[in-house]
Symmetry: C2
Subunit: 143 residues, 2 copies
Amino acid sequence: MTERCLCTSLRQAAAFSTAHYDAVLAPAGIKITMFRLLRRIDEAGCVSISDLAGIVGLDRSTLGRNLRVLEKQDLIATRPGQDQRERVVELTDHGRRTLETALPLWRSAQDSFAALLGPDVLTILEGLADLNKNQETYEGDRA
Amino acid sequence: MTERCLCTSLRQAAAFSTAHYDAVLAPAGIKITMFRLLRRIDEAGCVSISDLAGIVGLDRSTLGRNLRVLEKQDLIATRPGQDQRERVVELTDHGRRTLETALPLWRSAQDSFAALLGPDVLTILEGLADLNKNQETYEGDRA
DNA sequence: CAAAATTACGGGTATATACCCGCATCATGA
DNA sequence: TCATGATGCGGGTATATACCCGTAATTTTG
C-alpha cells in the first residue's frame, strides 16, 4: 500500500466533482466549466479577454478558445473594443436565458455535492480555493 | 460576492497542486501524471492497458494515449500479450531509473504540499480521494 | 464446432488546459 | 512625431482527459 499522492487524490476528486456538476447541469446544455465562465461574464458585464482571463484565473489563450466554443453556441458575443487590440465579450440573450436555466441546476449540484462531503470537508474546501490566490491576479471576489 | 462553486474550487486546487508537483518533479523529466503511471506500472509489474486503466481509474483510450507518450520517451515498453487482443505494458530500464530519480522528488513535493495544507486538510483530502471509489472498479489499494 | 456475444484496442473527435511565438495596435519618450 | 517598447490576441503545439465507433480476437453457447 503505497502512500497516496495528494495531488492525484485532488485531481481525482476534481474529476469526480466535475462529472457530478456536469450531469446535473446537462439539461441546461452546458457544463460546469462553461457555466462558470457565463456567470463571470454576466457579473463583469462586458470584459476584454485578458481581463476575464485575470478574473477567472485562466491562461488568455485557453480562455480565448473556450470563448470561441461559447460563441459558436451563441451564448456569448465578442466584438472589438475601443482599443482595437481588445476583443470585448458579453452574454447574448440566449446566454442569459441559459444562465438562468442553469442557475437552479447549479444550486442543486452544489447542495448535493456539499451534502455528500459533509460540513467539515466543506470548510476545508473553501480554504483550498485560496491556494491560487498567490498566482492569480484576481482577488477579493468569490466564485 | 457570489457563492463559490465547490467544483471550481476543487478544480483550481487540483491545478495548483499539479503545478507544484510538476515543478518539483521537473529535474526527473516527468510530470506528476506520468509519475503516477510509472509508479503503478512498476507496482503491477506487467499489465494490460485495460487492467491498468482499471487500476488508475482512467479511460482506456486516455491511458492508451498517455502510454504512447511514455513509450516514445522510452520509459515503458508495450508488446502483445498472450491474448492477442491485449497489449501488455512494463517499465524499461530507463523507466525504472527515472522512477528512482523521481521518487525522492515526489516525496519532497508531497511533504511540502502537505505542510502547506496543514494536518486537518490532509485528513480531509485523503477522504476526498475515496469519492471515486464507487465509479472505479479499482478498490482497496491506495495511491 | 460455428454463430453470437464479449472483450481489447486504436482512431476520431471533443473539452479543458498551458506555453510560446508572431502580428497587430497602442502608448511613450526623445 | 515617430521609433521603440508594451499590450492584446490568435495560432501552433502539447498534455490530460473522455466518449463513441470500428475492427480484431476470444469466449460462450446453441
